[in-house]
Every structure is written in structure tokens, then in C-alpha cells.
Point group: C2
Chain length 429, copies 2
């Protein structure tokens, strides 16, 4: 972890720069796989599963019986943990339901919005060494709450041609009934075009490596919506003298172990805290199973001493972190000043892990500076908000003349006529 | 307008197909202009304004005095009309502010969301024959309500090198203080990269032709957010025996006059109504100033007789129209069945024009079937929703063990440690 002491403000833009991602470079391979899936459907999926995942399967569909019996293979305490997490995620996302808010804007003119679920959604869960069961909850629960009619989950098979039981159990727990053993480019392609087994969906959610990211961008160009542009995970911590070095070091490592391209920025107004955190970091790192990954990630990471906590906040807003931990004495005084962040953790006991798994907030969050413009996944991500208006005769008499004038100015006589022809019938009454 | 009587269900997917858009074909020209702007800034903007808009200007900035005095050039009744529309749009969008919704998900675990404005937004208003002053209101008002710090408006200059006064007045009315005389690809490029005069923005809003659409997609690939993918405007009307043929014909024409690529679909369970509408259409079309455009658009348009109103609704959901007019006896009975639409107009007096200008709803809506996944522009489009969580010692004791189990299953020991190290200090208390 690089230590930087009181950097000049002119260097900030460089300090907040992320390593460049270039998903465009993968465009050719993605295009090729997508074209193949469009033409050959399931056969192409099986072929690429053999090529990319090095495993031969006969069908991408997970046997419904296997899904149903998944709890038999999952320890009771883990089941209970998932149920606790589910309860909290459900409570928080259910609180995001907005009422219709009927408003009479002029007398006789009533406007409101209603939520409608996106009908078919696809959830992608990456494979690899660890089964990301938490992400199944984070995407499946709001999809169910929103009322999506078809919720489809794709995840690559393991070497044994099967899906991890805990993933299946998490899917079952959230009420997902269609799980497919397919990953990477071919999974996103299947969700984009549909195959004999896998339905085409309206929107694709979920994390993944650079191939998955490039595939989601290609899906978007083919008219399928995606949750958000994705990049490597990141954490920014602001700590003052009240910060606990061991806690902060543990938080830094929890982020760094994600991947070699993960990034942590630790800001403080207290040089001693920085030194103590670095010390604790070395001690904890030595014991970490994924220490090689974490070590590589720490090379991209920085501890920066700044003048005061307000300067730290300014720097954080410029960086726009996915996760922001405020390990400071009175975090509430800083909330109003936070402009750009995905999810914020207040005080010494609100560790990022809590939001990653079980506090109730969503862990699918904007990375790579996208927190400047994008929100994390929420119930909103699974619905459209349709506007409605009902205009009575009196209402049209109240706003019609204004519409006629504006339409005339825009030289859209047809727009004007649609009002005039109605007003004319009313003047006869 | 093509009349189709009771089409087979198997033909529906073809009937709801839009004419293909291929913004990718314009990629080369867009790339070239973008590169030039990145290198040469304002000089490139002036050059392309001369090439594409055939007008030579010295500066893209609209003189602040011109903006300030714009009301002198706008008739009083039009000013009043814009003020009425502004009042309604403001009321409806202000009603979209969501409260924080603090939720205690487990004892000691509190989660909530807070809105933060997107800092810098760019509004694009197309040029052409008609000044789209209504779009200035539709984008400027929610941007102001959201609290965006910098709101920039770009619109191409007219042949006299100036911007229409009514556009400037609408900008002034909504509180926009920076207006630039630049249109098309070069405007979107300037907002994406910034130039000496024009600031780089975080998100670009607004309609435009295929060049603007292609440019916005390119902006998105360069990390700038956009409001939504755009296509030609569309209207679907469902009418039963209570529908007024003259009103429906006027609504069809108000849509058809937008552009040759506009599309209208009129569905009814009543053959006589269809015949009466077509008759009224011919009478009204003859008088329309933009009849050539409307006539071309009507060639892409269809009147379809279906079995009953429920079948009409099913067809509409498959089409996912930008605008949906329900000219039926009891539109309220159909609301729950509407799955996919941008904005809905209930009854004989709720014409699309009302929503285009002054009812209060936003007229920036998803086209081309995107209503399946996207909402129209609203206050939400100008903010991010940041999640917050505060976990007390007791809270972490309640959810910590579940987090430890889930993190262990995901083989993310660092995530587990961040909880364990905190819980350990608590067990000493």
C-alpha cells in the first residue's frame, strides 16, 4: 500500500484515476460467440462450456429435483444465516416501494406513477473458486419483490458438471425456479437471444469478469437492458483518531482479497493512524488464505494523509467510491456532504462485510466512478415507472389554451388540433 | 394507414416490430468528430457548425445578456402558457421526492437511502424548423428540482447564428444559465469531453435525430451516462364504441406529424369506429401544414381490429408503446393490466398533446419497445440514491455470526475477519 503525505491538490485527479478497463478489446470474441448462439442455440452453449469451462455436460438445465433437494446438502447453520440475510434484504427492499402519489396539477388534471415489474430478468452469478451465494440473494430477492414473472439464473458448472449446492439453496430460498449451468460470454449471449432451453430476458443483472462485462455491453447494444456498467470492486475509508487500526486493516483486506484489480483508498487526517493501520495490515495479511491476491491488490491501493476530515470528504467525492466507510467520531455530521458514493458505512462497527451479506442494503453497486451518476441495484432496478394522466373536460379547458399556444410556437399544428377539436365540442355544451 | 382485420396471433410479433434503426452505421463519422473535439475543443465545434449547420459563428456561448432579455422577444400569452406548464411539471416532479425510509432491519442495524443530485448535466435540444421549448421545460425543471449544480443546454444555431428567443426564455424560466449554440454530433461530443467553453458533464439528456442518438451511444461508451436509448416517437391508441372518431384522428395526426419515421397503432374491437376514424383522418390530414410528413408516417401506421378490449391490451403490452391512449368507456378497469408503456392517457379528453406540454408528466419517454425495461425521465433520472447503514455493537452481534458463515462459504476469509475482529473486542466487554 503506497503512503502519500499531503498530496498537492493538482495531483488529485491523477490519484483518483482507476486503471483503464478496455472491454472493447474483447469485442471480437464476444461477437463470435453471440453469433454462434443466435444460430445454434443450446448446441453452441454446450460447445463453449466445453471450450471455456473445460467441462462436458449434456444439458444446461439444472434438474428441478436437484434444486428442490438442495437443502439436504447445506448445513443447517448456513441455511439459518441465509434466512437471516434474506429477512433483512427483504425488509429494506420492501421499504423502497413508492406510493402512486396522485397529484392534481391543475384543476381536473390528475397525474401519477405506477410501478410495473420488468417481466423477464436474468441473473448471472460468476463461478470460480467461491460460490457467490450472497449475490443470488441480492438480485433474486428484489426481483421477487418487484413481481418479475420470469427470473432465470445462470452460473457456470464446476468441474463435476454441477452447481454448488449452496447456490442452488440460495436460489430456492429466494423462489427462483429456473437455474442453468452456463457461464461467461455464452450465458450472457443465451439471455440476450434465447435458446431452446433458456428464455430471452428483458434485463440482465450480475457481476462477472471482463468477459462478462464485455458481453453485457454487447447485450445492451442488442436491446437488452443491463443493471449497470461494471468494473473491479473498490473501497474508500475515511478514518480519524477514533478509528480502530485493526478494524480498518481488516476492512482493507476484505476488499483487497476480491481480486488483483481491486482497489482500496484509505484517507486520514492522522499520520499515526495511517502507520498503525499499515502495521496491522501486515500482521493480518500474513494469515490470509488469499494473501497473494490481496497483496497484488494492495499494490494499486493508497493510504493518503490529508489536512482534515473535510478534505478527505472532498477527495472521496472526487473519487466516487463504490463503498465508503466513515470510521470517524461523528459520521452523521458528514452525511450531507457526501455527493458521490454507492453505499456508505457509518462508524467503527459498520464494516463493508455487513452490507456485502446481511445488513439489508444491496451489494450490487456502481464502480469505476459510476457512483457519480448511477445508483446501486434496488427495487427500482426491477421495475418501470409508468406515468398516468386523466384530464377531465374542465381540466382540458384549464390547460388546453396553454397547450395550443406552445404547440403553435413549435409549429406542430397537429398537436394543437388535438386540443382545439376537443375544446370546440365543449364550447357547444 | 393500413387496416388489418383480426390478425392471427402468430402474426403479432411481426406486427409489433419497429423499422430497424442502425446507429452503428454512423459510428465512423461520430468517432471522427469526437476525436477532433477531444483534440481541438472549441475550434472543432465552430468548424463542424459551419460544415453541418451551414452557419459561421465566432463563439458557441450565448451572450448572457441575450438570455436575460429573452422575455422581451416572447409574446406575453406564450410566456403565460410556459409558466402554466412549468407549474404543473414542477408539481408532478416535486411529488416524486422519496423520503429516506430509515428501516431497522435487525435490532441495531439501520439502513436507508438518500438522494444526491448528479452534479453536472447536459440538456440537448434539437434544432430544425420548430423550437422545442417544451423539452427545455421537461428536462430543465427536474434537473433544477433535483439540485444539479451545473445545468448546461446545447442547441444548434439558426441560419442567423442565433438561438430562438422562446428557447432562451424557456431556459431562463427554468433557471438554466449556460446555453451554447452547438448541435448534433459536435454538441454531444463537447458535453462528453468538455472544451474551453463547454464543461464536460456527467449525464446527457434530450432527443435528437439518428446522429444525436449515435453520438449519445458513443458518449455512453466514453463513460458519460445518457437518459435512455432513443428511437422515433410512437403512439398506440385503444378505442371502443365510446371513442370519438374526430378526437382519435386528431391524436393520430399529432403523432404522425413528428417525423416520417413516427409510428401510430390504433386498436379497436369496433369495426365502425375504425372506418369512422380513417374517414376523419383524411379530412383532417388535408388541412395539416405538415401533411407530407404525416402522410409518410401513416404509411408505417396500422389500424387493427381485434376481438375485444382485452386482446387490444395484450397486443399493446407486446408492443410496449411510448404513449398509450385509452379512449374507452371505463379506462380505470384496464390500468392493472398495463404492463409495458411509457405514459398513459385515460379517456376522451386526455390527449397526448396534454402530456407533451402541460399536464405535468414528462414527455421524455422510452421508444422502440424500451418501455419493457425503461421508465421515462423523472426526478429519479437526475439523482443517485446512495444507501447508508449504521450498525451498532449490538447490531453486529445480531447479524455478525450469519455474515461469518456466509463469508466462509464464499471462501472470503478477509470478509469474515472484518466481522470476527470486531466481535472479539465485544466479547471482552
Amino acid at each position: 500500500m503506497k503512503i502519500i503525505i499531503n498530496p498537492q491538490r493538482s495531483t488529485w485527479p491523477e490519484l483518483v484515476n482507476r486503471p483503464q478497463q478496455s472491454p472493447e478489446e474483447l469485442e471480437n470474441i464476444v461477437l463470435q460467440v453471440f453469433e454462434d448462439i443466435k444460430l445454434n442455440g443450446d448446441a453452441a452453449l454446450l460447445k463453449y462450456t466445453e471450450i471455456f469451462d473445460k467441462v462436458s455436460i449434456n444439458s444446461v438445465l439444472v434438474d428441478p429435483a436437484e434444486l428442490k433437494n438442495s437443502d439436504l446438502a447445506v448445513a443447517q447453520d448456513l441455511q439459518d444465516a441465509l434466512r437471516l440475510a434474506k429477512g433483512n434484504i427483504e425488509k429494506f427492499h420492501a421499504s423502497q416501494v413508492q406510493n402512486k402519489g396522485r397529484i392534481e396539477t391543475s384543476k381536473g388534471v390528475v397525474c401519477w406513477r405506477e410501478n410495473r415489474a420488468i417481466e423477464k430478468v436474468g441473473i448471472y452469478i460468476p463461478g470460480g473458486t467461491a460460490p457467490l451465494l450472497s449475490t443470488v440473494l441480492m438480485l433474486g430477492i428484489p426481483a421477487k419483490l418487484a413481481g418479475c414473472k420470469e427470473i432465470v439464473l445462470c452460473t457456470p458448472p464446476g468441474k463435476n458438471g454441477k452447481i454448488n449446492s449452496a447456490i442452488l439453496f440460495a436460489a430456492k430460498l429466494t423462489g427462483i425456479t429456473s437455474v442453468y449451468k452456463v457461464g461467461g460470454i455464452q450465458a450472457i449471449g443465451a439471455l440476450t437471444f434465447g435458446t431452446e432451453s433458456i428464455p430471452r430476458v428483458d434485463k440482465i443483472f450480475g457481476p462477472g469478469n471482463q468477459y462478462v462485462t464485455a458481453s453485457k455491453l454487447m447485450a445492451q447494444r442488442n436491446g437488452t437492458a443491463i443493471d449497470m456498467p461494471a468494473g473491479p470492486s473498490e473501497l474508500l475509508i475515511i478514518g480519524d483518531k477514533s478509528g480502530v487500526p485493526e478494524f480498518i486493516a481488516a476492512d482493507i483486506l476484505s476488499q483487497a482479497e476480491h481480486g488483483e484489480d481491486s482497489q482500496v483508498i484509505f484517507l486520514s487526517d492522522n499520520e499515526q493512524l495511517i502507520l498503525d493501520v499499515i502495521k496491522a495490515l501486515h500482521i493480518q495479511l500474513a494469515e490470509l488464505p488469499r494473501k497473494d491476491i490481496a497483496n497484488a491488490a494492495l499494490k494499486n491501493s493508497k493510504a493518503i494523509l490529508l489536512k482534515d476530515i473535510h478534505e478527505c470528504l472532498e477527495f472521496s467525492n472526487l473519487y466516487a467510491p463504490e463503498h465508503l466507510i466513515l470510521a470517524i467520531e461523528n459520521p452523521y455530521t458528514m452525511i450531507d456532504g457526501i455527493c458521490n458514493a454507492g453505499s456508505v458505512f457509518l462508524g467503527n462497527y459498520s464494516c463493508e462485510s455487513a452490507g456485502d451479506y446481511a445488513s439489508g442494503t444491496n451489494h450490487t453497486l456502481p464502480t469505476n466512478g459510476y457512483a457519480r451518476t448511477y445508483s446501486g441495484v434496488s427495487l427500482d432496478s426491477f421495475v418501470k415507472k409508468i406515468t398516468f394522466q386523466e384530464i377531465s373536460k374542465e381540466g382540458l379547458q384549464n390547460i388546453g389554451p396553454a397547450i395550443e399556444l406552445m404547440a403553435a410556437e413549435e409549429q406542430l399544428t397537429g398537436h394543437k388540433n388535438a386540443v382545439s377539436i376537443r375544446l370546440k365540442t365543449l364550447s357547444y355544451v
